[in-house]
């Protein structure tokens, strides 16, 4: 008996090694299936959205919450996968240095001002430390390059540091290109991916859009070498480079997923500042109406003086007799001077949009309507008494009109240009997905849903409202971690449907929204 006792502890140790085991643990090989897909070597191609860019910058925690990284972590629950590598920045300040000189600014954070109101501000809690002269050695599974357009992914020299000051190279790609002349697509193919995602084309319209359409719609121009940074890419150029990339990626039998391009006019960058934020009281409305009657009168007189018939003059002048009412009124925008609009301004239409970066302080001081100086008031008084202003005084009145600059607004024609190009790109993307049997994700529908009601999660809803909506980061264009998680879920759903896989989604409630910090200047 005594002899048995001394074995008791060993018997017990045998029990102890028995950790609690579930009947169907998810880490067992066959709990989830990859279906017909093989996620063992996943490579993501795209732009800033793929890189995990947010708050106007690229930084580590944003990259960790990039949709490809979120997806890769879920893939790893389904099968044995390679580590998903990303060209991580050096810090969470964002911003880039070139030889010690800052070339791109830090991220934004939500800071509370002296007035108690939170607003996005540039984070200044630490200096940026990511210098693009410090080239990382890859390969990297996440090949998202902030700023890249469709044709950039195959552009030699896009990662050549010598081209950065010239605007021909991309500082982000410089950091991790395998060689200065390597292309993004080459660096993807060199990894022989078993699975890829491609989300490119946003910047082919976005640069044009965020700059208020100041660039050129290059539809019809098939040479992207002649395009400026803020131009719209010709849809045929897009179709050509896009299909050649997809073809190259699937040549070795890889499966993949293609994402389309959202309607950029639904993102907070364009929906936050309403075009009718000119809120007037009754007296000011009346004054402004009076002012524009004066403008119309002065214009008519001038036109008659210049030889127009009174009917012609009145007909043209009528467009300037804009009337304002108490409450919200739409702003005025500058338009090109033309025969039909010789003064070159008009009131905005309901559909037209203002950009997030517009100087809101200026809007409260007459930008978008009239800057009423004492001198102008003097002339108006003179007119009211039936006096005749001098030509200089008349010009003073006309000059007081302060329409919104082209770069701060998207007018109807620009919106139409964007819509036409986006629709063409999306037709290409969907067509290719169908043709090649790839998974397809309608991100456009997803973003529309964010803008119209939102997407529900276990503790509420995320929507496209700036700052508080939870989906968009503080730059009004890119997603928050929670927004990227929602995107990852949509992509996973499409992959599962297409390939018969059962990759689990993520709980988007576990992903954060905007970052709070008062470390700002």
């Amino acid at each position: 008996m005594k002899n048995y006792i001394k074995f008791l502890p060993f018997l017990a140790m045998g029990f102890l090694s028995c950790e609690p085991e579930l009947d169907n643990p998810i880490d067992e090989a066959d709990f989830y299936t990859a279906g017909e897909a093989d996620f063992s070597n996943y490579v993501a191609l795209g732009n800033s959205l793929t890189a995990g860019y947010a708050d106007g910058a690229l930084y580590i925690t944003g990259q960790e919450n990039s949709y490809p990284n979120i997806m890769a972590q879920q893939f790893a629950k389904v099968q044995v996968t390679n580590d998903f590598t990303q060209p991580l920045m050096a810090d969470n300040a964002g911003g880039l240095l070139l030889g010690g000189t800052q070339i791109l600014s830090n991220r934004r954070v939500l800071a509370v001002g002296a007035n108690g109101n939170p607003s996005p501000q540039i984070y200044s809690g630490m200096l940026p430390t990511t210098d693009i002269t410090n080239v990382l050695s890859g390969p990297f599974n996440n090949l998202g390059v902030p700023g890249a357009k469709s044709y950039h992914l195959g552009f030699q020299g896009y990662g050549n540091i010598a081209g950065v000051p010239l605007g021909t190279a991309n500082p982000y790609f410089v950091r991790f290109a395998s060689a200065p002349q390597a292309t993004v697509i080459e660096d993807a193919l060199a990894q022989n991916p078993t699975f890829f995602s491609l989300w490119i084309g946003n910047n082919d319209v976005l640069g044009y859009a965020t700059n208020g359409g100041a660039g050129v719609d290059q539809t019809g121009n098939l040479d992207p070498g002649t395009y400026g940074a803020n131009d719209i890419t010709d849809p045929n150029v897009f179709a050509s480079v896009y299909s050649s990339m997809v073809t190259a990626l699937i040549t070795n039998g890889a499966d993949g997923v293609l994402m389309n391009i959202p309607d950029v006019t639904t993102i907070p960058y364009f929906t936050t500042i309403p075009n009718n934020a000119l809120v007037l009281d009754t007296e000011t409305a009346a004054n402004l109406t009076g002012f524009f009657q004066a403008v119309a009168g002065i214009f008519a007189q001038g036109a008659i003086r210049d030889g127009a018939s009174p009917q012609q003059a009145q007909a043209l002048a009528a467009q300037y007799a804009i009337s304002f009412s108490a409450g919200p009124n739409r702003f005025l925008i500058d338009v090109p001077v033309s025969q039909m609009n010789p003064l070159g301004f008009r009131q905005m239409t309901e559909e037209e949009l203002l950009v997030l970066t517009i100087n809101q302080q200026a809007l409260t001081q007459g930008y978008g309507s009239v800057v009423l100086t004492p001198e102008v008031m003097q002339v108006l008084g003179l007119l009211q008494q039936g006096g005749q202003p001098t030509p200089e005084q008349a010009q003073l009145v006309l000059n007081a009109v302060s329409g919104i600059d082209d770069k701060d607004a998207l007018d109807n024609e620009e919106i139409e240009n964007i819509a036409v190009a986006t629709a063409a790109y999306n037709a290409t993307i969907k067509g290719l997905a169908q043709e090649k049997g790839l998974a397809f994700v309608d991100i456009r529908a997803l973003i529309n849903q964010l803008a119209n009601g939102g997407i529900a999660f276990d503790a509420g809803t995320i929507n496209a409202t700036f700052v508080t909506g939870g989906a968009f980061s503080l730059d009004g264009v890119h997603a928050t971690p929670r927004g990227y998680a929602a995107i990852a879920n949509a992509i996973l759903e499409s992959i599962n449907t297409t390939y018969g896989s059962t990759v689990p989604k993520v709980n988007i409630g576990n992903y954060g929204t905007v970052t709070l910090s008062n470390d700002v200047q």
Binding site: C18, Q74, K77, N92, M126, V506, N507, G509, L516
Partner: protein, 416 residues
């Protein structure tokens, strides 16, 4: 008798499975060997916990029992909808006891006890999926009790005494599911209170029907640990007026619920003893775990618990194999006080079926070594905690839990 026992065990085992909050039933190796029965068992100074009224029946003048257990307990959790899995890596719990009784006269015995009936140590991986509910918790309560046991008649004795409790708690959780500092480190709070004193009492009675049959009753009062001015340490808080979390003090109260025990013991075939205990732990006192932070700028933390009273059914058998060896075996069914929707991962216990075994080795007439082992079997349980709120909206934390626990106990008994 044996048949009846088996039948009862079987019936219970197939009933709905439900274990016991942070109650740790390891108050004597001899009792533990027999399914932790003892309210009607006159065997050793372990009566100082199970039923002080029985101390006067101990044959020797001085009786001392002491022991310590090692609790190896872990939990695994998974949520297959989102592909999440987590395991605890909990430190080994070491509840202990020390009982001494001295028979002053034939009708009076006095005693002193120290034991640890409540405690918990659960450590999840930091920042795991349920980290907004708990990262880790360490709860300890040491009971010290002075006892008197009086024989009123041949048949009846009573006993009891005041209890002094010294409690401590250390608890860490993340502030919510997403808040971080600029570098993505999760914002969290550690609350720590130690040396919290409280008082209570216990009393029991024992009815000796025949030499062989005893019936016992014992009641231990509820004791509320009122932590005042504990330390609340906030970590990784963003520098923002929107997150005004600064280190402060807190008040909180944690109940150590009352417990009622009734039971019987029956000696048969000379060398055999059967015991049955029924325990009820009055957990319904544990409605909510609330932290009241001193700093008015920090919102108080309210966490619904809403426990219900829970029962434990215990069966034990003892066989005096030789003069040197006594063998014990037992079973108990431990019902969880946690109600549906309130399953929080800081005490992730569901109902359990428990199997025990024990042995005493009499080194000599006075000194014995007592050993016991406890295997707790838990069914897998799909459970959720539905009372975590974000911006007023409930965000349930759900998944499948599975517990395992094994306990090894070693003790000594001395009589003079």
């Amino acid at each position: 008798m044996k048949k009846l026992l088996l039948l009862t065990v079987f019936t219970l085992a197939t009933a709905v499975t439900y274990a016991g909050g942070y109650r740790v039933s390891l108050q004597g190796q001899r009792a533990l060997g027999m399914g932790h029965t003892g309210v009607a068992v006159v065997n050793s100074a372990e009566l100082g916990f199970f039923n002080p009224s029985g101390l006067v029946y101990l044959e020797n003048k001085l009786n001392i029992s002491a022991g310590v257990s090692a609790v190896f307990s872990d939990t695994v959790w998974q949520n297959d909808e989102f592909g999440q899995m987590a395991r605890t890596d909990s430190p080994v719990g070491t509840p202990f006891y020390l009982y001494a009784s001295y028979k002053v006269t034939d009708w009076l015995a006095l005693g002193l006890s120290a034991y640890t009936p409540y405690g918990s140590s659960v450590a999840w991986e930091d920042d795991w999926a349920g980290s907004h509910l708990v990262n880790n918790i360490e709860l300890q309560a040491i009971y010290v009790q002075a006892l008197a046991s009086v024989k009123l008649s041949k048949y009846l004795s009573v006993g009891g005494g005041p209890i002094y409790v010294n409690g401590s708690v250390n608890f860490n959780r993340n502030l919510n599911r997403t808040l971080t500092d600029i570098d993505g480190n999760r914002s969290n709070v550690t609350v720590d209170a130690s040396g919290v004193a409280a008082w209570g009492w216990s009393a029991g009675a024992m009815f000796t029907a025949t030499e062989k049959l005893r019936v016992g009753f014992n009641y231990r009062s509820e004791i509320i640990i009122e932590a005042e001015d504990g330390d609340a340490i906030f970590n990784n808080i963003p520098n923002s007026p929107l997150t005004p979390f600064a280190n402060t003090n807190f008040d909180a109260s944690l109940p150590l619920p009352a417990e009622l025990a009734v039971g019987l013991s029956y000696q048969f075939l000379d060398k055999w003893l059967f015991a049955f205990d029924y325990n009820q732990t009055l957990w319904s006192v544990y409605e909510s775990l609330d932290l009241d932070f001193e700093n008015p700028g920090i919102p108080d933390s309210e966490n619904a618990r809403n426990y219900k009273n829970s029962s434990v059914y215990r069966f034990g058998l003892q066989f005096e194999a030789t003069d040197r060896f006594t063998l014990r075996g037992g079973y108990y069914f431990d019902e969880s006080p946690v109600q549906s929707g309130y399953f929080a991962p800081e005490t992730p216990r569901n109902d359990s079926n428990n199997f025990t075994g024990g042995i005493s080795f009499n080194v000599n007439d006075r000194f014995a070594i007592d050993a016991a082992v406890l295997y707790s079997r838990f069914d897998e349980i799909e459970a959720s905690y539905d009372f975590y709120f974000e911006n007023g909206q409930a965000a349930p934390f759900e998944g499948i839990y599975k517990n395992s626990a094994i306990t090894l106990g070693l003790g000594v008994s001395y009589k003079l």
